[in-house]
């Protein structure tokens, strides 16, 4: 193998599995260390820099970081990253105004319109307001927040938390126009904005057109629309027996909300076996804790009505044939079954819909009637019109919407400055040694054999009394301190200098997870099979050094299970290994603006 190019900005970034998996590249280990030190406000600000809504995301993030977490590979359960984020938000100082970016009094004369006050638009405003832009957000409802307000029930995300983090942005001077649906993009474009950002989400829930749908319409609800009605207080009760169709995260919110509105018997009906569920494991767990029944292998067949009133649903009983990889290769109907119900909620997916965008504005739509959006710049085929969040590529989640917002903000900035939206600041990584003394490091490098802490919940007796009782209580400071110790500090990188190595084997011998080998170089598959412990996880890189001085062999490190305990560096007599903190520099609009200013002082 060629020597590994650790100068490449992705190499060390990838080693920090959580940060690499986070769409917004939040510096997770850094904020976890700050939590361990009791520096909650600092931890909050590290989060806010990348993901803008730490309090919200600390409760309802889809947390792609956790399945990626190295701790999960070392001992099954990942660090409770998401819940630690909430700790930072829960325990921070109330007033962080002084730490937020200063908003210039003199504006730069550029006006940006954002459609929809969801996470994507809010992020655009968050990034552009400090640069002197005037941002106007148009929102169809009476309150901002988008899906975060309408689709996430208040027992998971209290309105106070939501309002606080939205207001941090609105207070920057955003012109927020509530109850102001945009009905024509042509008209909006006519108002002379320098750029338009469409962050209108995926607001259209899918329907299920089966026999009986019309007759029983009063008791069949579209999941996201129903949640929205509950959020705004238009709906406050539901029948005793409720069937939820679909088994994604919206279904989980629907079943748990039903229980709080008077339902006694709630069943989630899944077409396929459990392995195919779309809902996150933790959301399933939370629903099942509340005694929601999940019925698998039932495909909806018809709505059953009696004298025009819904009495239940008929399902086909399915059987599936799986191959060795667990994929479905065959299915058949083995019977049918009736489930009684007073109400049915359909949670089988949602789509974006743009009836308000005229099709002759130069904005191209593809054959699924979805706008064509550039994956890097988020620009549509009409320069100056950008898309982000669910509106861009269909339903994802909040953290993706935030990152879309960051990237779109860069494009909007460049577009407004008359520069190419493609010409963006590249990402980078800086390294800084964490060595303090012979065996002293500026991080806690000892492996803490602590098991994942459980977040305490409000008792089952209490939680159903009101719709808005938050179920999760969040970690106490003591629990957070223990959970924080589980983090392996993957951002404190093992940096190797081949010139200094005397091949004494000390690092190889001490490594607790056998990830180091000094051996003769070979091809990657060959090397992977010859290491001290087989390197079977192909998604994790091998580090290969330049040839070593004394024998010409190479140092190989399998990044997969490295504990970042630094014992290799402690045992190294020549400091060929060092532990260095990687700072991933993932540019935002402000960084692009600063770089422009450095290049051309006139722009500033």
């Amino acid at each position: 193998m060629q020597p590994t190019d650790t100068q490449h900005p992705d190499y060390f970034h990838k080693v920090v599995d959580c940060q690499w998996a986070c769409p917004a590249h939040t510096d997770v280990p850094e904020y976890i260390r700050l939590i361990a030190q009791g520096r909650f406000t600092d931890a909050y600000m590290v989060n806010r820099h990348s993901n803008v809504f730490p309090g919200i995301l600390g409760r309802v993030c889809d947390r792609p970081c956790e399945p990626a977490c190295r701790r999960g590979r070392v001992e099954q359960k990942p660090v409770a990253i998401c819940r630690l984020k909430r700790v930072a938000a829960d325990h921070r100082e109330a007033d962080i105004a002084a730490r937020l970016p200063k908003i210039p009094k003199r504006k730069n004369g550029k006006r940006v319109a954002c459609i929809g006050a969801g996470p994507a638009s809010l992020t655009v405003a968050n990034d552009l307001m400090p640069l002197g832009y005037e941002v106007t957000i148009f929102e169809q409802f009476a309150e901002p927040g988008g899906l975060m307000r309408t689709n996430i029930p208040s027992f998971r995300l209290p309105p106070d938390v939501l309002n606080e983090e939205i207001q941090q942005i609105v207070r920057m001077g955003v012109d927020l126009r509530l109850n102001h649906p945009v009905t024509s993009l042509r008209a909006l474009l006519g108002e002379g904005f320098d750029a338009v950002f469409v962050g209108s989400g995926a607001p259209k829930g899918k329907d299920l057109k089966l026999p009986g749908r019309q007759e029983a319409a009063d008791h069949i609800h579209i999941g996201i629309a129903w949640l929205e009605s509950v959020a705004f207080g238009h709906v406050d009760r539901i029948g005793e027996r409720v069937l939820i169709i679909g088994v994604g995260n919206t279904a989980m919110d629907c079943c748990r909300t039903s229980l709080r509105l008077g339902a006694k018997n709630v069943k989630v009906m899944a077409r396929k076996p459990r392995a195919f569920f779309k809902a996150s494991a933790w959301e399933l767990e939370d629903a099942e804790e509340e005694s929601v029944g999940i019925v698998v292998n039932r495909a909806p067949k018809s709505f059953v009505t009696e004298q025009g009133r819904l009495t239940g649903m008929l399902f086909d009983q399915m059987e599936y044939e799986l191959d060795d990889h667990g994929r479905i290769v065959g299915e058949r109907v083995v019977g049918e079954e009736f489930f009684p119900a007073d109400d049915v909620i359909l949670a089988i997916g949602q789509e974006n819909a743009f009836p308000w965008i005229e099709r002759d504005l130069g904005i191209e739509f593809d054959r699924w009637d979805v706008p064509v959006v550039d994956k890097v710049t988020f620009q549509s085929t009409r320069p100056g019109v950008f898309f982000g969040g669910d509106a861009a590529f269909g339903p994802k989640n909040i953290i993706w919407a935030v990152e879309h917002g960051h990237q779109a903000a860069i494009s909007i900035h460049r577009h407004c400055q008359g520069e190419s939206v493609r010409d963006r600041l590249p990402p980078g990584v800086n390294l800084q040694s964490r060595k303090m003394g012979v065996h002293e490091w500026a991080y806690a490098n000892d492996y803490a054999p602590v098991e994942r802490r459980l977040v305490p919940h409000v008792s089952l007796k209490e939680r159903f009394k009101k719709l808005n009782i938050e179920v999760e209580l969040g970690f106490t400071i003591e629990q957070a301190a223990q959970e924080a110790q589980r983090c392996l500090n993957c951002d404190v990188q093992t940096v190797f200098d081949a010139k200094l190595c005397i091949e004494c084997d000390a690092c190889v011998d001490i490594c607790p997870v056998d990830c180091l080998t000094i051996t003769v170089n070979g091809s990657e598959p060959d090397l992977r099979s010859r290491l001290r412990a087989p390197a079977k996880n192909l998604s994790q890189a091998l580090f290969v050094s330049t040839p070593l001085k004394q024998t010409g062999r190479v140092m190989v490190k399998d990044e997969d299970l490295c504990l970042h305990c630094g014992l290799c560096a402690e045992r190294c007599p020549t400091a060929a290994w060092d532990m260095q903190k990687s700072f991933v520099h993932w540019p935002h609009a402000a960084d692009n603006a600063a770089a422009d200013a450095a290049r051309n002082p006139k722009i500033a």
């Binding site: 070392v74 001992e75 065996h439 490098n445 000892d446 492996y447 054999p449 005397i502 091949e503 004494c504 084997d505 000390a506 190889v508 011998d509 001490i510 607790p512 997870v513 056998d514 990830c515 412990a533 087989p534 079977k536 004394q550 024998t551 299970l561 504990l563 305990c565 014992l567 402690e570 045992r571 190294c572 007599p573 020549t574």
Partner: protein, 351 residues
């Protein structure tokens, strides 16, 4: 050394031996030697070898004297028995323990000072008695624990860290052991586990006294330019003559060996050592020729390494002394104790 104990967590796909144990189960306590010490690598090689031989930790006896080397018995197989003896007296303890229980595996770890200076007499007599043990010398040419004075294995012309030159000729434990009649004599290097691990395995299975002299650089006092026992010098002047593959009885010899270059040696328990002659002219089964060639290479400044002499199983300590064929703790009490009448009879013989 490190200040942290090696975390107990390990690689989930680490291989397990016949006892269901991983390498990690053969480790010992936290090493307090200098970072980069060759001794720590030898410790890792012993761990690997014991794991590979499926030795039950409680059946291993670890013996040592005094010195950096002698601390290392604490750093491997913490489930084994250990005895850290007086300086240079490890062979006496080994003899006593071996006499009492012949069913255990004995591994003595000593250094060039402990063996070749204060313990030279004990060392020679352990060979003479053909004690059934593996004797490892962690040889770095200096007294590391007392800040790097030349030891009895320091080569002529080698330089100390502060610059003075050694003029006294060294005692070479390999030549000494061959001369004294040892039947398993090897030299290796802490930086070459591929060579060292099978040697340790073969040495542990060898019937009688097995010596491995392991060049083990002292990273603090003897790893500079001008030293003849530094990592760099050893690698440059390191000449493997015979590579020994250890093959336990239950495993078949699968590799295809060229005749004349390879030589399988069957051991008393049915396991085999397959010797690969890397130097075609070298004969590891001829005591006199081996000694001559080692001396010749030494004069040329080369360290000849590998299994340098291996002889057929001669009588070991137990055969020579007619001891019972089980451990004394398995001999019934009635047989073991002569009783007061029996004792009186025995004493009568000396009156």
């Amino acid at each position: 050394m490190t200040y942290l104990a090696k975390p107990k967590v390990s690689h989930p796909s680490l291989p397990r031996n016949a006892l269901g144990l991983t390498r990690r189960d053969y480790e010992g306590s936290l090493s307090t030697l200098c970072a980069g010490c060759g001794h720590d690598s030898i410790t890792a090689a012993i761990v690997e070898a014991c794991w590979g031989l499926d030795i039950e930790p409680q059946n291993l006896v670890k013996l040592s004297g005094i010195g950096c080397s002698s601390k290392t018995t604490a750093y491997f197989v913490s489930g084994g028995h250990g005895f850290n003896s007086v300086h240079g007296r490890m062979p006496s303890i080994a003899t006593g323990a071996n006499a009492a229980n012949r069913e255990l595996h004995y591994i003595g770890v000593s250094g060039d000072g402990d063996t070749l200076s204060i313990g030279l007499g004990q060392f020679c007599h352990a060979i003479r008695r053909n004690l059934n043990m593996l004797y490892i010398i962690e040889n770095n040419g200096v007294y590391g624990l007392t800040k790097g004075q030349f030891s009895a294995s320091a080569d002529v012309g080698t330089k100390a860290k502060k610059g003075e030159t050694n003029f006294q000729p060294p005692i070479d434990p390999v030549l000494l052991a061959i001369t004294l009649g040892a039947t398993f004599v090897a030299r290796s290097f802490s930086g070459d586990k591929k060579q060292l691990v099978p040697l340790i395995q073969a040495g542990l299975r060898h019937k009688g006294f097995a010596l491995i002299d392991v060049l083990s650089p002292c990273v603090t006092f003897n790893d500079h330019e001008g030293s003849t026992k530094s990592y760099a010098y050893t690698r440059e002047h390191y000449e493997p003559a015979v590579h020994a593959d250890f093959i336990p009885p239950e495993r078949e010899i699968v590799a295809d060996y060229n005749e004349g270059e390879t030589l399988p040696v069957v051991m008393h328990d049915g396991s085999r050592i397959v010797l690969h002659k890397l130097d075609a002219a070298y004969d590891p089964t001829n005591r006199a020729a081996a000694a001559a060639q080692i001396q010749e290479r030494m004069r040329a400044g080369e360290y000849l390494t590998g299994l340098l002499y291996v002889g057929s199983a001669e009588k070991d300590f137990h055969d020579l002394n007619g001891t019972p064929d089980t451990a004394l703790n398995k001999v019934p009490y009635e047989k073991l104790s002569p009783g007061s009448k029996g004792l009186a009879k025995i004493l009568e013989r000396y009156r």
